[in-house]
Amino acid sequence: MTVRIQTEDFDLGQELISMRLSGNDRGNIGALVSFVGLVREFTDNSLNDGDSINTLTLEHYPEMTEKALTAIELEAKERWVIIDSLIIHRVGTLQPLDQIVLVAVTSAHRGEAFKACEFIMDYLKTSAPFWKKEATSQGERWVEAKLSDDVAKERWK
């Protein structure tokens, strides 16, 4: 179980190879599920749909972030039989097409890896202290939380 908060980009291929091949349990891994969140080129919300995005800046609460993400990983490990999990979340100022977040989960069987990975993302979206601000052609704007993310989280209760 690993959590990393960083400004720099990550090498997705290297991170996934390392999930596959490092660790004493590597011979038991039958499934590797990963999610990457990316910066889109256009805003996507009811107020100003379709403005083009120049930058996306992520603020966070440093003393709390890693603790919150570790708690989510531990909860996933309680609920499903997984071998390992990795969360990398970037902060600072990003451009369209940039990688924002990686969640990767290994397990013996695919069902558990899919569920744990999606669970981690749904909880990260609603309980990890990150805030996005978009700089668009129309100015700067804090991204609004989405009701659909609360709904997604409720499924797991």
């Binding site: 969140g37 609460y61 709390m64 919150a68 609603t126 990890a128 990150f130 805030w131 996005k132 804090w142």
Partner: protein, 85 residues
């Protein structure tokens, strides 16, 4: 009692600073009471903390609801609903 308060994102910009150390009156012992107390500081603060906006709180780096109790030395953080990922 003395506590630290941190503000993040939209709320930080709105109150225009990111942290403060304050002495609370004796009857301010829950998050709700602290929000009401901060709301008295002026229009800016009232708009944020009068309950019409969703303001989430954490105590010592754990998310809490507004009934949570505050203790001396706590780090209390206020922020909008999170939007990471």
């Amino acid at each position: 009692m003395n506590i630290n308060i941190l503000y993040f994102a939209r709320i930080k910009e709105s109150v225009n600073y990111s942290s403060e150390n304050i002495d609370l009156p004796k009857d301010v012992v829950t998050v709700t009471a602290l929000k009401n107390y901060l709301a008295l500081r002026g229009e800016n603060w009232a708009n944020l903390f009068n309950g019409k906006q969703v303001v989430r709180a954490a105590i010592n780096h754990a998310l809490v609801d507004d009934m949570a109790t505050i203790s001396a030395g706590d780090e209390v953080a206020f922020f909008p609903p999170v939007t990471g990922g």
